[in-house]
Symmetry: D2
Subunit: 367 residues, 4 copies
């Protein structure tokens, strides 16, 4: 009788970023605990007060104090701690640069949720323009674009050109203002860096600013942060695919910034090629109710959490489903029972072989 179990790793580490100070560390922490691990948790120190309070609440509710270690430190200290403590598993959510360093340092005992250059494709069936422009605005600019699932690139079928979609997106973006925090400071990219990136894009033939592209005014946001208007830059599809341009165009800007392009009926192959050449396959959306179109795009792309249908978005996760980059054996997941099991436990197989011995068993003769 052979039984498969999921077994905890034991000592594990969790490192999470600034942008969701409660949701990401809490979901990961609880998943680790549910599977029976002993986690040490480090949240980006800019926001770690949130989880500190949460842990106090958990203690109040009965969590034994020795079940979780909470550390408040900079990254260098944490890196040193990881190398010395040698946890069996580390969950890292954050930038690709740090992720790759940690993966090497920890020799792969790691799961990652890193950057995503998340795309959305609008299919040939134009409908619900008001709704879709609103979802695009939310996907690209809510939280000032500082979600790993934020919409970074929009592929628009030519049928949408005359639908008024871009005008509506422009109008919605212009409603955003500092007063009500519908736009706000960018914590990891400066204004100058974003403007420079835009200017580099604008050197590509055919590129243009669709809207935004200017620093925010009338504010006291320090210069080490970024502060720009919600921005969309159009780049022609054929230019995007050129090897001199591709890396530049698909560079993730962790702020309110997206690239928009357009494709005709016979250019779907180019769109799919672009999606395939991107590296960080976090989320994606295919906005269409055309079943054959959906089938074609879904069957030839790989992004992890992929929304399909006329209501598709890039940023709905993770309140009700799996999350994490696809196509990478280090890719983490979050929220679902399956994700919790795969990230926070390993397989153990116990085979009961209790006999009896076969009735006629005898010691095999020597050869």
């Amino acid at each position: 009788m052979s039984n498969g179990y999921r077994w905890p790793f034991g000592p594990v580490a969790i490192i999470t970023p600034f942008n969701f100070p409660l949701e990401i560390p809490l979901l990961q922490l609880m998943g680790a605990l549910y599977m029976g691990n002993k986690p040490v948790l480090k949240v980006d120190s800019k926001v770690s007060i949130v989880m500190e309070q949460m842990i106090r609440l958990l203690h109040e509710c009965g969590l034994p104090a020795e079940d979780v270690d909470f550390i408040n430190s900079d990254g260098i200290t944490m890196n040193k701690l990881l190398l010395e403590a040698n946890p069996k598993m580390t969950l890292f959510t954050g930038s690709s640069r740090v992720a790759e360093k940690l993966a090497a340092d920890l020799q792969g005992r790691i799961k990652l949720e890193d950057a995503g250059f998340d795309w959305k494709i609008l299919g040939p069936d134009v409908q619900e323009v008001d709704y879709i422009s609103w979802v695009c605005d939310q996907d690209a600019y809510a939280c000032s674009g500082q979600k790993c699932s934020a919409q970074s690139m929009l592929f628009m079928h030519k049928n949408w050109s005359s639908s008024g979609l871009l005008e509506k997106m422009k109008k919605l973006s212009e409603r955003r203002k500092l007063e009500d925090l519908t736009i706000g400071p960018v914590l990891t990219v400066t204004t100058a860096t974003m403007i420079e990136h835009m200017n580099n894009l604008l050197k590509i033939p055919g590129s243009k600013v669709l809207f935004g592209g200017e620093p925010l005014g009338n504010h006291s946001i320090p210069e080490i942060y970024g502060a720009i208007k919600p921005t969309a830059v159009f780049v022609p599809l054929v230019e995007i695919l050129k090897s001199d341009n591709f890396e530049l165009v698909t560079k993730e800007i962790f702020g309110p910034f997206q690239v928009v392009t357009e494709y005709s009926e016979d250019q779907l192959e180019l769109v799919l090629e672009a999606c395939e050449r991107m590296n960080a396959h976090l989320t994606a959306a295919v906005v269409s109710n055309d079943k054959l179109f959906l089938q074609e795009v879904l069957g030839r792309s790989v992004n992890g959490t992929t929304y399909a249908g006329i209501r598709a978005r890039t940023t709905g996760a993770p309140q009700n489903h799996w999350f994490g980059p696809a196509g990478d054996p280090r890719g983490a997941g979050i929220g679902t029972p399956e994700a919790i099991k795969l990230v926070w436990s390993c397989h153990r197989e116990i085979i009961y072989d209790i006999g009896p011995l076969p009735k006629k068993w005898a010691l095999p003769a020597a050869t």
Copy 2:
């Protein structure tokens, strides 16, 4: 409607060792192919002719030639190829030393099946001594101990002392001879290294050779290989646990070599501590039909493929179940549908959100 899929990685690599020239690469290759990947396969060049022939057979049976790339090279060349080709996933079976290097080089895009210092515990209920001595002989010395699942350490309850078990194991080991290949050359450890390891063990107080411990005679095996009689060295349990000795005693010798020790009723804690302190949790066996004893040992150990019951062995895998080290997020699996899915594919979630829009939906007003 949310659907979870397992999605292939695409370009993957498989690197396998000398000791199972057909079984390991073939199981891994077929698993990779079943899940839709495009593998490049490298088998240890000493034995790669076996899989070369197998692949020719697969081609004959209809495998498209472009589905698998087969490379015959040394490890340095393969390492270079991996760094340049950047496969999405690499499966490595082999030594821990190479495994750790590759894990760092590939920044963790790897699954491992590496060494195991596999233990067997004989419980308090003495029975079927003939059978169990024969299984011990097979587990420790079949294939000259060159299985990753070979029995490396035997913890024997004191009740077995007067059962004649060790004498029977000695007798069985002495039946092994070069003529019928029941003993043979060791490919990765020299005779001198094994004798030296034994001598180091014998410096520990209370240690002694139970049987074997001498080079094989009358043979033409080259000196770069190993050639010793099936060997068992007794080391007292309390000595094993001393920090000066532990690493030495639990060093894996990939040849016909095992350490034997004994424990009394009240020393089970020490046995479990020893198992816990070992690092490579591949396979294990708990030889007992005492349900409370089984429960205690299984509940407090972590090895991946763990046999339990009076017929338990360490080396039954992988013909009918999961395989791979436990407690390591890089741990691979082999053979079962679950293992194939976890090793050779990643999760992708597709959420259909096709509408209709809520009947009263209207563009939210600006704040």
Copy 3:
């Protein structure tokens, strides 16, 4: 530790009809055997020679002779045998009339696959008219309509009126001829009964024969069988729903006979009401690639095996999936691992509670 098992019933019976002399009894028999039961099999005696030969082949291939009992009898004898032998489970495939009698006789120890009045709905999106007319012809008239999954009623959206669909179906039906067995004898309904049924339908206001409706000529088929041309009768939707007509219109004719009707955009509610009021929810098809339409119809209907999409049919089962009427706890399934488990085994839960006793356990004091 609690383990759930599927456990065989032991002695079981299988009763199958004439129309698939090999497929139905063989799939059911093998399912019963796989789960460890001891079946007695009765196939309709008109065709039982087929399974008799099959069982001889199975014996030749190694099936132990005592694993299956095969009985060749009429229904009355079989009924008597069931009442005396009292099998733990009986699988009956056949007419609803016999099914209901057996269900009462066996006090519910039965699973059924009985008649289906299978509907197909053509959605608003007209396309692939050649293909869909061909599928309709196959669904309604292949095997002379003697499949439990045969298309009995076609709901056609008004958009199809001018598509030429009905003309194409007529043309295809007229290609069928006795010479090549594309039409043939009906084994359980006489020509007179079918013609009488048609005439009853034609009394409904607005009804008309679309094609067929006449006896086949130039043949020697005995009068106890049926022999008519592939027939379609149009009945207006509002008439179908009248309580005086509904039972008549939805009476299953196990021959090459279907009812066709038409609905306008605002009559979908009536179509869904009609589907809901039918009793035998075997198979169904929703021919459309309109995602919102599919969602609406699938979400509000219950048929067991329901095809959806522009290539949908009613008669594809059971080569690759579950089969059986939905909405009935006696409904059987066929072919899939899940169906085999549910039909041919019951649940058994074994809970291991081996101790130890809590350390401080003492006999509770008397109150």
Copy 4:
């Protein structure tokens, strides 16, 4: 793309008995609701006030009033209602006699949890006598034996004869008294009936009263109920198996009454034969930690919820697992997600076949 769903039945009925006025109807009702059914609930009218209050509480908590119909009636009225309303599924918990009538009336659209003649086998390994005698007392006499899972027969290995087990059981039974309700009225069997049954058993050669066997004194329990002391009657194993005696000995008495017998090492076959010949395979217990013994008994018996191990009992269900008689396709389950799905929903398979058509498809030529 083929998706399997569990689909609710729609209108369903639930009929539950007196002995668990809250637990059984509530678990069944919630299961039916979770799967989306519309239940009508009838609880035995002697105790229906309990669920009436519970439903008022559910309404208070937000359950829409139209989600559940609650009926307070006698069985004849309910039977009539079922025949007229024709629910798609009925869950009946209660006596076998009514169960069989309903199963025929409803032509098998029913799931049953009926009587159990539940056995316990004590294996050869004698241990924890205090604990096991206490569990036996609880299993047989708690709630005055009015659980469907109550221990009705105890098979005791000879090794237990000198253990003092029976004496301890006697002593525990004698602690039970009306004052603290550790014994109480029996609602469906009169004192006279139970005494008569005992006297019939005592006519079997070798039978004797172990303890109890007398009416309770000093009480005002009406004569339509039963009132006897906790009773155990010993009957020799070989007598039990005689065809003249078997039906009598295994008749379920729904009160504080059990049969005890003894077996020797070589009589295990007879014990297993007795268990196999019983009809109502509800629960069972195998009290032993001997793995080979457990394997033998579990592998050759069929009861639904079977406890194994030295702490095994017959009456632990259903707080943490599946429940219901095994070996009967009408057998219900309770409490687990699997049970809820199997009892309260049917399978529906939706196959999306949306195309496109094969590029070279053309209408097949006429033959």
